[in-house]
């Protein structure tokens, strides 16, 4: 028998130099090798620009002027309650093209792979300014638009109307917009109805200052996401096998026997048009410091009917700017996909009549498609003074479906008094009951 020799030791990891932990990584966007020294096909691939999957920018609107196709006028508005644009000069009307069909957003969910984004959903340039300037081609004046809250402005000399249509830098221009259908009078009526049902315990200052006519139409920024994912969950489930009662003196106690199972479920699914708030302020749902959950509650919108971006739809409305990129929103998307998966598997665990305790979950996101969109909301707000700057209460109306939800500040002492009164009455009843029984 031959003497077994130990295998030679593996070469030690370099303590410094290329590939070691001490190696300084290359700067983002740089290559450690000169592409010019590489073969042509590899060099072409390395030097190709990063692809933008779906280009939704409008060439014809690049100069900021949205011209009437009939007369060339720029004073264009949305006809209230419709998706129709109307030229205020010649009254010509035309319909915005639906983004879903124009860019194929509704297709290919089953084969989504990787991260596909529309050009309006690209990362925001860190040093982009909010103020965008246009040079009026008619009179040469500078027209400035503050993208924090507006997307259109009028040249004060020649009355040309400018809209921000260039999908650049600061993320203010989305891929699509869903025009308002609910008119202001309708929104006012809905807010009034909502508050009328909540007057008794409302804060006195709120009731005194309540003027629903001050409602503001706001376009809020959302990322509308399609996704293809697989999820798996594992846990314990119990099925009741026996139920029996034991009596000790006067007391009866029910006991249960059960079989315990290890339960595992897996589901592959696609989601279509999941909306995520892409303003970090609006996406922050902490009911102790804000009432943003109110605005979230009026989702969903009929995002399939969104039209190609055109700033003329925003004339007369304010808007908020997106400040979150796709990577910042990804954790929330994954959280929601896991919740959807848990809802999907619920139907398959009905036999566990004592319930299931999920202990582990897993998610594989195979592909996502991100479209940046402005969605219409009527917002009525009331600031309640208090600690840490107080609390801003919203009553929000969905600008498409009319769904209304709100937060009405409460007069605490009134509410406490009512609760104590009812509690005292119930306690009186309880004491009377015990007195008559003994």
């Amino acid at each position: 028998m031959s003497d077994p020799k130990p295998p030679p030791p593996a070469p030690a990891r370099p303590v410094d130099g290329p590939g070691s932990p001490h190696d300084v990584p290359p700067l983002p966007g740089t290559l450690p090798v000169d592409p010019q020294t590489l073969p042509d096909p590899i060099r072409d691939e390395l030097e190709a620009p990063d692809p933008v999957a779906i280009d939704t920018a409008s060439e014809e609107l690049k100069d900021g002027l949205n011209r009437c196709p009939k007369c060339g006028g720029t004073d264009i508005r949305q006809r209230p309650g419709t998706d129709v644009l109307v030229c205020l000069y010649c009254r010509n009307e035309w319909h915005g093209e639906r983004a879903e069909e124009a860019f194929g957003f509704g297709e290919g969910l089953d084969s989504l792979t990787g991260t596909v984004m529309a050009s309006g959903a690209r990362d925001i340039d860190a040093d982009a300014a909010s103020l965008m300037s246009f040079k009026c081609p008619a009179c040469g004046a500078e027209v400035t638009i503050n993208t924090e809250n507006a997307m259109t402005a009028r040249c004060h000399w020649c009355r040309h109307v400018f809209g921000l249509n260039e999908q650049v830098a600061n993320g203010a221009v989305p891929d699509a917009v869903l025009p308002f259908h609910i008119r202001k009078e309708d929104a006012v009526a809905r807010i009034r109805q909502f508050v009328d049902k909540r007057r008794l315990f409302a804060l006195k200052a709120f009731k005194e200052q309540f003027t629903p006519e001050n409602v503001v139409g706001v376009y809020l920024p959302y990322m509308v996401v399609d996704g293809r994912a697989s999820a798996a969950v594992a846990g314990k489930g119990e099925i009741k096998t026996r139920e029996y009662t034991r009596t000790q003196g006067k007391d009866k106690t029910t006991y249960y026997d059960a079989d315990v199972y290890q339960v595992e479920r897996r589901v592959d699914f696609t989601v279509d048009d999941l909306p995520l708030e892409s303003s970090s302020e609006r996406g922050h749902f902490d009911i102790r410091v804000n009432t943003n959950n109110i605005i979230n509650t009026i989702l969903p919108f009929d995002t399939k009917n969104a039209v190609k971006w055109n700033a003329s739809y925003l004339a007369g409305f304010t808007s908020e700017k997106r400040d979150s990129d796709i990577e910042q929103l990804r954790p929330r998307l994954e959280d929601q996909l896991l919740s959807i998966a848990r809802a999907q598997v619920e139907g398959s665990i009905r036999r566990y009549d004592r319930g299931v305790r999920w202990e582990q979950e897993q998610l594989d996101v195979h592909g996502t498609r991100w479209v940046s969109m402005y969605l219409p909301v009527w917002l009525y707000s009331f600031h309640q003074p208090g600690k840490n700057g107080g609390l801003l209460h919203y009553i929000a109306v969905n600008g498409r479906t009319g769904e209304t939800m709100g937060s009405v500040p409460v007069q605490q002492w009134k509410l406490l008094l009512a609760a104590l009164t009812v509690g005292t009455f119930l306690e009186g009843l309880a004491i009377t009951y015990l007195a008559t029984m003994s």
């Binding site: 909540r198 315990f201 409302a202 846990g235 314990k236 489930g237 119990e238 096998t241 007391d251 249960y256 026997d257 059960a258 315990v260 199972y261 290890q262 595992e264 479920r265 897996r266 589901v267 592959d268 699914f269 696609t270 989601v271 279509d272 999941l274 009911i287 959950n293 109110i294 979230n296 509650t297 009026i298 989702l299 969903p300 990577e327 959280d335 896991l338 919740s339 959807i340 848990r342 004592r354 319930g355 299931v356 305790r357 999920w358 202990e359 582990q360 979950e361 897993q362 998610l363 594989d364 996101v365 937060s407 009405v408 500040p409 509410l415 406490l416 009812v422 509690g423 009843l429 015990l434």
Partner: protein, 96 residues
């Protein structure tokens, strides 16, 4: 005083607290949010999986399994990540 009498005497405090919270929620709607689980268009393939008996419980007084979260879709449990999963670096809690 027996257990039943003590329960009856709790009617006052329980009733007062329940009324307070019910009215507070009706006004402030702090518990509301978009029900994306039901209101999003989801196309799911048939659910697959396995069920394996691992034990029995006898003589418990609990009507439901401890920690039942089958209806609490948004309560996250231990997340298991694939090492190659995009956008998610393996963390210390990874078990596979």
């Amino acid at each position: 005083m027996n257990d039943e009498s003590a329960l009856v005497l709790l009617a006052g405090p329980i009733g007062a607290t329940a009324l307070y919270w019910a009215l507070y929620r009706y006004y402030r709607n702090t518990d509301k949010s978009h029900a994306f689980e039901r209101e999003t268009t989801v196309e799911a393939k048939p659910v697959t999986g396995s069920d394996r008996k691992v034990g029995t419980v006898t003589g418990t007084r609990a009507r439901r399994i401890a920690g039942d979260n089958s209806g609490a879709y948004r309560a996250r449990v231990q997340r298991i990540r694939n090492p190659g999963q995009t956008g998610a670096a393996p963390s210390a809690e990874d078990v596979r």
